[in-house]
């Protein structure tokens, strides 16, 4: 759990750095990501080669934002088992075969590989969005596309309190584990009062925080004072990538490239 908190803080820090990607308008990044995800998952279940060019997006954004790949790869690895768990049944149930380069392969495996690639791409794109934008700016972008005020506010507050409660919880867990050596987790019998007392403390804190907000003139509006307009660069980013996604979706680029090369060699 400490890892989770550290991850949140790290992503927060990453989002606060200055680089070409972080400087883009949050709305543009949000839209690009959503479109990207839709394009990725829209490919047929046996598709592999046509999917591959889509890896350009995370790779380029990654490099432009100067992110270290290690952490994000770890995140992807963390989500993988779930997808593999369901996808692994594809080879079991799908016995149709196809011949590729003189070897016969089950279509189930193709769909499995396709699924895994999609998983890698979608997870990477999602993490990139947060790592280059940050929660508060995403909230602002959500407001622009018309998400109700109360939801965005609620989201930002939740996000803020995860860190605070996380610290409190870490202290409680430490105290618990010191008195319960060798236990894994908390006994179910004690769980209710353990979590319950954390909850009550949280209630009290919520009230104090709300009081603190009201004392500084809070009337239900979360003013971030950050209303940058969408600029030319933002539009270029959005249109450029979306065009690329659409071209990738419409033409099997690796296949074109491959036929060109094999054609040339063949002659």
């Amino acid at each position: 759990m400490k890892d989770s908190l550290r991850d949140i803080r790290l992503l927060d820090d990453l989002a606060r750095r200055q680089n070409p990607i972080n400087k883009l308008h949050p709305l543009v990044k949000l839209l690009t990501t959503i479109i990207y995800l839709a394009v990725v998952v829209s490919f047929g279940r046996y598709e592999i080669s046509a999917l591959l060019p889509l890896i350009f997006y995370p790779v380029v954004v990654f490099a432009l934002a100067e992110l270290a790949p290690g952490r994000i790869l770890r995140r992807i690895a963390w989500v993988m088992p779930l997808v593999i768990g369901i996808g692994i049944f594809n080879p079991v149930f799908d016995h149709q075969t196809v011949t590729i380069m003189n070897s016969t392969i089950s279509k189930g495996w193709l769909s499995f590989i396709s699924l895994v690639i999609k998983c890698v791409l979608t997870v990477a794109a999602g993490i990139l969005l947060v790592a280059t934008t940050g929660m508060e700016k995403l909230g602002a972008a959500m407001r622009i596309i018309g998400v109700p005020k109360i939801m965005v506010l609620q989201l930002l507050l939740t996000y803020r309190y995860i860190l605070l409660l996380g610290d409190e919880l870490a202290r409680m867990l430490r105290a618990y584990s010191l008195r319960a050596p060798g236990h894994r987790g908390i006994k179910l019998a004690a769980w209710g009062s353990f979590a319950g007392s954390l909850l009550l403390r949280s209630f009290d804190r919520a009230q104090r925080v709300y009081a603190a907000m009201c004392l500084r003139g809070f009337k239900g509006d979360y003013n971030t004072g950050d209303d940058a307009k969408v600029g030319v660069r933002d539009l270029q980013f959005l249109i450029g990538w979306v065009a690329f996604f659409l071209i990738t979706r419409s033409y099997n680029l690796p296949f074109l490239l491959g036929s060109f090369l094999t054609g040339v060699i063949g002659q």
Partner: protein, 257 residues
């Protein structure tokens, strides 16, 4: 300058569970005064502050700030003039950067962004943490958090500063920093604490609270020289006024103010 005056008249307050927290408290604090409200844990100090800020409303009695009586209607106006620093800075810092936190108040009063920026700069410079403005509040040390919390209130340019335990859980150096900061403010100040040495340095007048009532009200010197009174209220003489246990010398003589 009567508009910086704070007056409490016969305040009574009980919590919903029936516990009477404040019983008949009255006092008047004049412009420019620095008043320390002291008392044991659970004496009613924090409740009193909540009443002053209009977070709670008294069962009977009234609070007057300047010439205005505190009612739900006048609340926004009065809150603009009172700035309260909470005991736990984490309750007060909830944005992702120090700058946004300090700007939170001014933005809520819809000042234009330029004015907000200059107020933020001013407030942060005043508490000496201008260099931390882009940091996340949760990454600050205890002392820095406290300074940031104070800045969030200063940026609203209040006439009266109210502080709940401003030096609790600070290391000696941070405590010293906060004390110097308090002394540098020319606002009317109301400070609650058990840290009597701090209150002694920053306030000229003491208000001792015991079981929800005023046990004593007067110049710091008189009250702190009365060990019986302090003891009966769950307090002790400030260390700076006690005999030194090592050399046996009473090195510091208190000049009554």
């Amino acid at each position: 300058m009567s508009h910086h005056r704070v007056e409490a008249r016969n305040l009574h307050f009980s919590y919903p569970d029936g516990q009477a927290a404040i019983q008949d408290i009255s006092f008047t604090i004049l412009h420019g005064e620095a008043v320390g409200i002291i008392g044991a844990n659970g004496a009613g100090k924090s409740t009193l502050l909540m009443l002053l800020m209009g977070i709670l409303f008294p069962d009977s009695g009234e609070i007057i700030v300047g010439d205005t009586r505190l009612t739900p209607k006048t609340l926004p106006m009065i809150r603009e003039r009172l700035g309260m620093v909470f005991q736990d800075p984490d309750d007060q810092l909830f944005m992702t950067t120090v700058r946004d936190d300090v700007a939170f108040g001014p933005r809520n009063y819809h000042l234009d962004e330029q004015e907000v920026a200059s107020r933020v700069r001013e407030a942060l410079a005043q508490v000496g943490i201008l260099h931390l403005r882009d940091r996340a509040p949760f990454k600050l040390s205890g002392g820095e958090k406290r300074a940031a919390a104070i800045a969030t209130v200063l940026s609203m340019k209040p006439d009266i500063l109210i502080m709940d335990e401003p030096t609790s859980s600070l290391d000696p150096k941070s405590r010293r920093m906060v004390m110097e900061l308090l002394k540098s403010f020319e606002h009317t100040k109301i400070i609650t604490s058990h840290d009597l040495d701090m209150v002694l340095e920053t306030c000229q007048r003491f208000l001792v609270i015991k079981e929800g009532s005023v046990a004593a009200d007067g110049p710091a010197g008189e009250i702190l020289k009365n060990p019986q009174l302090l003891h009966s209220c769950g307090l002790e003489m400030p260390l700076s006024l006690q005999k030194c246990p090592i050399c046996g010398d009473q090195t510091k003589n208190f000049k009554s103010g």
